[in-house]
Subunit: 215 residues, 2 copies
DNA sequence: ATGCCTTGTTGAGCAGTGCTCAACGGAGCA
DNA sequence: TGCTCCGTTGAGCACTGCTCAACAAGGCAT
């Protein structure tokens, strides 16, 4: 409310922002502001008023770039998800047998650092919102692919289901652990890896041989 | 919007609702309406206007019972969570070695039936919202207790962490499975149980004997 | 330069929503 | 008959999402 207590229309824009930016750049600026604000509070509390004030533009202009507040929020979520996938993305030059561990470590680190905005996205808007759920599912599929590749396993529907579930396990575990670190970090990572291996162990189909066919 | 298209102040109240209910009953009625609406859309889209219209009262009256819209929402969440815990609650007369399976089956059934409202609660409001997160954590701890009791294991911080994580695993798995049932139901339950047993297997502390102390 | 056109930008203003508050009125009781 | 709770009302304020007609700053042809 009384952030800078300025009644002047200047209102302390975040970048001095001469004026009349090219469309693409203004879009990026607005999304950037949204991402920044998202680290402080949930999407639902990010008002058009504040965003436009920070951008140094009028409220009306925002609706020239995003037809609705909802669309603006979707754009922010998309950007945040892209960022997350990129961060957890494969380590490349890491040795085969260490990939899983590295992926987990990166994901844990990400959840640790960006806990609030992540929670704000994942748990903050997805409810009953088809489009957001779709964006979330899309990004989660990306992560599933990353994990499967790190595991060196070919994707099958059942395996994808298991890994997706494991991601939920990681989310919940890490988020709980952050609030109450009942064990050192490396142990948590080991635990997550053990769980993953146990969950995707080769014998999900009960009618096959217990050792799996042709290991 | 044009639900019943009535301009008359009567507005089709849900129960004919004579008038002047005792306070406690009115509270229950309002929360009940909220729970019902929650099955149709996320909390954020449940407006005071609609609730009061359905209750056949004025908008102002709602604020006599809940000082703020947020408080009203919190009350709804609390009620929904209580309901959920009660449903998954221990089966009592079930044989020891079947308890885990039964709990899982009940939880899966719950997620299947009330998928939308559950998602609307769990993922719908928790973001960046300390109080909601607390309610959620509280209710999740209840479930952790249920599972641990079904397992016949004494609660320790590490075990609680694991089971909480497993609940996340169940959530994610079941919710994904509902959209794309890549395996029959009983197999999913079996899978969830296997995952739980694998996750809480007795050797979480790496410095102890691999068999655990004094099994 | 001059006028024109594209296009980013504005600001007043409407509608809807959360919330407040002074006043109302029916039920019970002396 | 009058008094007093207490559940209830409804006007109204502040704020926010959103619209729209008008504006102004370059670039382009003349």
């Amino acid at each position: 409310m009384a952030v800078n207590a300025g009644q002047a229309p200047a209102g302390v824009p975040d970048p001095p922002s001469g004026k009349r930016l090219p469309a693409a750049e203004r879009r990026r600026q607005l999304i950037g502001i949204g991402l920044q604000l998202l680290t402080e509070r949930p999407l639902g509390e990010i008002t058009v008023e504040e965003v436009s004030r920070r951008a140094g533009i009028s409220r009306g202009l925002l609706f020239n770039y995003f037809p609705t507040r909802r669309d603006y929020h979707l754009a922010i979520i998309r950007a945040a998800m892209r960022r997350m996938s990129r961060i957890a993305e494969p380590p490349e030059e890491v040795a085969e047998d260490m990939r899983v561990k590295v992926v987990i470590e990166r994901f844990v680190a990400f959840l640790e650092r960006r806990r609030d905005p992540y929670v704000a996205i994942i748990r903050g808007v997805a409810g009953g919102d088809a489009e957001v759920a779709e964006i979330y599912a899309e990004s989660r599929n990306l992560l599933v692919g990353v994990v499967l590749r790190a595991l060196g396993r070919r994707p099958t529907p059942a395996l994808e289901l298991l890994v997706a579930g494991w991601l939920g396990f990681v989310e919940e575990t890490v988020l709980t652990w952050v609030n109450r670190p009942v064990m050192p970090r490396h142990e948590l990572v080991r635990l997550l890896e053990r769980a993953l291996l146990a969950i995707v162990e080769r014998r999900t189909a009960p009618r096959d041989l217990p050792n799996g066919p042709a290991a």
